[in-house]
C-alpha cells in the first residue's frame, strides 16, 4: 500500500471517523512497531468478540503486532472462533470456507506476484487447529510440497471451540471432549515435524506467554516465506471455555504445559533459511527490511 493512499486529505480531516484518524496518525503502517510497543500505538486489531481470556485473542494481538510490513500483508483465515475476530482487523483478510485457507493463499500469493512484480506482498495464513491439521491438512501440506511462498500460522487451542468444544487432531491423547466421550484415542498430531519434512524452511512452536519469542518467530517465518520457502508457526492458544479453566489463567496454563513437557516448544530452521537470516544479523528489526 503506497503511503499516499492512507494519508488523509486535510480538507476532509474533520469529517473522518476518529478511529480512522487514529489508524492513520498513530497506526503501525510504515512504522517500526512491535510487541514491546503494545499500548503505545493504535493497534490494527481493535477489541474482540471472543470469550474472556481467549488464547486466540491473545495470540492474534501478538501476531498482528509482529507482522513486519502490515501495510503490504494480506491474511487468509478460515472458519472458527478466529473468523469472528478477523472483521475487526485493519489488514485485508479473506474468509473463504473451512479448511481451504492454504489453497486460497496459494492463488492469492501468485496473483500478487503477477500484479506487483517489484513489490513484496506477504501472504499469511492464520487458522485454527481444526482448519489446519484436520479438514484442511491436505491443502496445507500440498502448499508446503509445492513450496508456495506463504506463512502458515496455526492457532492451536486443541479443540473445535466455535462449535462447542469437540476433539480435534491437535487435542492431546486421552482428553475427554465432545465427540471423544471416552477420551481421545490417538496422540496430538506432530504437525511441526510434518511441516519440517514437508519442506517448510522455518518451523516454530510458540505461546503467547512469551511475546518476544512470538514476534521473532512471526518475523522469521514471514521473511522465510518471502525469499526461501514455506514457513509454519504453531501458537498454543489455550481455550478457557472448553478446557474449563479461569479466564485469567490462560498464560499460566500455557506455561505449565510447556514446563511439564506436554506442549513442546521447538524451532526447525533449514540451512537455506539459516544462511538467509545471517545477512540480517545485528539489525534489531531485521524483518522490517522490505
Amino acid at each position: 500500500m503506497v503511503k499516499r493512499i492512507f494519508k488523509m486529505c486535510p480538507e476532509f480531516e474533520d469529517v473522518m471517523p476518529e478511529e480512522y484518524k487514529q489508524l492513520v496518525e498513530d497506526g503501525p503502517y510504515g512504522r517500526e512497531k512491535g510487541v514491546t510497543d503494545l499500548g503505545s500505538f493504535k493497534e490494527l486489531i481493535e477489541e474482540h468478540p471472543l470469550c474472556a481470556g481467549c488464547g486466540l485473542a491473545l495470540s492474534l494481538r501478538l501476531i498482528i503486532a509482529s507482522i513486519p510490513v502490515p501495510e503490504d500483508t494480506i491474511i487468509v483465515g478460515s472458519t472458527g472462533c478466529s473468523s469472528l475476530l478477523f472483521p475487526q482487523v485493519a489488514i485485508q483478510n479473506i474468509h473463504s470456507i473451512f479448511g481451504n485457507q492454504n489453497a486460497v493463499a496459494t492463488g492469492l500469493k501468485r496473483a500478487m506476484k503477477l500484479r506487483f512484480p517489484d513489490k513484496t506482498k506477504d501472504v499469511v495464513v492464520i487458522a485454527g487447529d481444526g482448519a489446519t491439521a484436520d479438514i484442511g491438512l491436505g491443502m496445507v501440506m500440498q502448499s508446503w510440497f509445492r513450496r508456495e511462498h506463504i506463512t502458515t500460522i496455526m492457532l492451536d487451542n486443541e479443540a473445535y471451540a466455535n462449535t462447542g468444544g469437540q476433539e480435534s487432531g491437535m487435542s492431546y491423547e486421552k482428553k475427554v471432549l465432545n465427540m471423544a466421550p471416552t477420551g481421545k484415542k490417538f496422540p496430538k498430531i506432530c504437525l511441526p515435524e510434518v511441516a519440517r519434512e514437508a519442506g517448510c524452511d522455518y518451523v516454530a512452536t510458540v505461546s503467547p506467554g512469551k511475546p518476544k519469542r512470538v514476534q521473532n518467530a512471526v518475523r522469521q517465518a514471514v521473511l522465510t516465506a518471502r525469499e526461501v520457502g514455506p514457513s509454519y508457526i504453531q501458537i498454543y492458544s489455550p481455550c478457557p471455555t472448553n478446557y474449563k479453566f479461569k479466564s485469567n489463567q490462560t498464560n499460566a496454563v500455557a506455561k505449565e504445559r510447556e514446563k511439564e513437557g506436554t506442549y513442546r516448544m521447538v524451532e526447525y530452521v533449514s540451512d537455506k533459511a539459516r544462511d538467509y537470516f545471517k545477512q540480517f544479523k545485528g539489525e534489531e528489526k531485521h524483518a522490517k527490511c522490505n
Binding site: L84, Q88, Q92, S96, A103, V104, G107, Q142
Partner: protein, 381 residues
C-alpha cells in the same frame, strides 16, 4: 502472447476474419483461452476434462498465460482460483462430473464473494457405480449456486461462450462467476468444424479496480470491515445482511441478461415458432433434437425446437411467451432427473402437456429415433 493485439470485445466477437478449424471441444477451449488474455489457470485431471487443461498448460508454456499449476484436488483448485481472483487477476479452470461435486462448496462461495471466475464444466456421470461416461446430472445440482450457467451445444458454442463469459462475468454490475457447461465426450471429444478468430487478437485485460467489491491486494485504505461483525451472529441485522446479499447476487445475475442477450444473441433460439409441438432442449440434446425435428418434418409433421443457451439467469418470460400457443412440449435430456423438465414446468402456468422424455443417462448417446417417437406420439394423440 505479448504480440497479440488487444481488441475491444465487440470488435473481437463481430468484426474479425474468422477461419474454420476441424477440432475437438477440448481444442476449442484452448483456442478460446488463447484469445482471452487469461493471467492464470489452475488444472486438475478428470475425464473428460483433462485434455482441455493440458492444452491450456501448453498455452502457458508458449507464453500466453503468466502462471499455471496443477492443484491437488477440485476443492483446492476452486479455492486457488478464488484466491487468485480475489487478488485481481483473470483466472480460468475446468472440471466435470465428480470433480464438480467434489468442489461444490466453492461455487456459491465464488458467487457470494462476487468473483468473476470463468469455469468450464465438461459434464459426466456421477458415482456410484464408478462411471466416466456422458451424463449431465451434475447440472441439476449447480443451478442455484448463484453462478451464471451457460450450456454449449457443440464445440463452436463452447468456444464462443468461453470468450464471452469473461466479458459478461467482469462487468461491474454483474461481477459473478460464469459456468460454461458442455456435455462431456459429445462436445469435448468430438471433432467438428469450428469458426475461430485470428490468433493475433485477444480480449482486453481484466481491470480489478472495476470490481464492485474491494480487490484483496492491500492497496486500499486501511479499514476494519466492521466493529461488531454480523458473521455467525444471531440478530436481525445479521439475518438482513445475509438475505440482502443473496438477493444482490440474484440481481447481479439478472443484470447480466442485457449483456448475455447481446453477446449470445438471446438466451434461447426458436425454430419454427408457430408449431404446436415444441421440443425444448439444451446442450447436446439440442443436436439430437435437430436431427429428430428434421426427420419429423420429412415425415410431414409440424414440430418446432427451442434451444436454451442460458439456464441462469433463466429466460422465464421468453419461454412463457414462446410456449403460449403450444399444445405439447417435449423435453429430451441426458440425465435421469430431468432438471430442464423441472425448470420448464415451473414457469408454465396453464395446463399443457409437458413430456419429460426421452431421458438418456448412464453414458449412451441419445438416438434421434427416441425423440422422433415422442413427436409421433404427440401427432397421433
Amino acid at each position: 502472447m505479448s504480440n497479440q493485439q488487444v481488441l475491444n470485445p465487440d470488435a473481437l466477437f463481430c468484426n474479425t476474419e474468422k477461419q474454420d478449424m476441424f477440432i475437438t471441444g477440448s481444442e476449442a477451449v484452448k483456442e478460446a483461452i488463447k484469445r482471452s488474455n487469461v493471467d492464470m489457470a489452475i488444472s486438475y485431471p478428470i475425464t473428460p476434462q483433462s485434455e482441455s487443461m493440458h492444452l491450456v498448460g501448453d498455452l502457458y508454456a508458449q507464453g500466453y498465460l503468466k502462471d499455471y499449476l496443477r492443484g491437488e484436488n477440485e476443492l483446492a483448485v476452486m479455492s486457488e482460483v478464488a484466491g487468485a481472483s480475489m487478488g485481481g487477476v483473470r483466472v480460468f479452470t475446468a472440471t466435470g462430473g465428480p470433480g464438480t461435486l467434489r468442489a461444490f462448496e466453492m461455487f456459491s462461495t465464488w458467487s457470494g464473494a462476487r468473483l468473476p471466475i470463468v469455469c468450464a464444466f465438461m459434464t459426466r456421470g456421477l458415482n456410484s457405480p464408478l462411471t466416466i461416461q456422458p451424463d449431465n446430472i451434475e447440472m441439476a445440482h449447480i443451478l442455484d449456486t448463484g453462478m451464471i450457467i451457460l450450456h454449449a451445444e457443440n464445440a463452436q458454442d463452447l468456444y464462443d461462450m468461453l470468450l464471452k463469459a469473461f466479458i459478461v462475468a467482469e462487468k461491474p454490475d454483474v461481477h459473478i462467476p460464469v459456468g460454461v457447461f458442455a456435455d462431456g465426450f459429445f462436445v469435448t471429444h468430438t471433432r467438428d468444424r469450428v469458426r475461430i478468430d485470428p490468433e493475433s487478437v485477444k480480449l482486453p485485460p481484466y481491470d480489478p479496480y472495476s470490481a464492485p467489491v474491494p480487490v484483496i491486494d492491500m492497496e486500499n485504505v486501511p479499514v476494519r470491515l466492521m466493529r461488531d461483525p454480523f458473521v455467525m451472529k444471531s440478530n436481525f441485522i445479521s439475518y438482513a445482511a445475509h438475505a440482502s446479499w443473496q438477493q444482490e447476487i440474484m440481481a447481479a445475475a439478472m443484470r447480466s441478461r442485457k449483456y448475455l442477450d447481446k453477446y449470445l444473441e438471446g438466451l434461447m433460439d426458436i425454430h419454427n415458432e408457430k408449431a404446436k409441438v415444441m421440443v425444448v432442449a439444451s446442450g447436446t440434446a439440442v443436436s439430437q433434437s435437430r436431427e429428430a425435428v428434421e426427420r419429423a418434418k420429412n415425415e410431414g409433421m409440424d414440430v418446432g425446437l427451442i434451444k436454451i443457451k442460458c439456464l441462469r439467469p433463466f429466460p422465464v418470460e421468453k419461454i412463457k411467451a414462446a410456449l403460449e400457443n403450444v399444445k405439447t412440449v417435449i423435453i429430451p435430456e441426458f440425465n435421469r432427473v430431468g432438471w430442464l423438465y423441472r425448470e420448464i414446468k415451473s414457469v408454465l402456468q396453464k395446463d399443457m402437456e409437458v413430456i419429460g422424455a426421452p431421458r438418456v443417462f448412464g453414458g449412451m448417446t441419445m438416438p434421434a429415433e427416441l425423440i422422433l417417437d415422442e413427436i409421433r406420439r404427440c401427432q397421433n394423440g
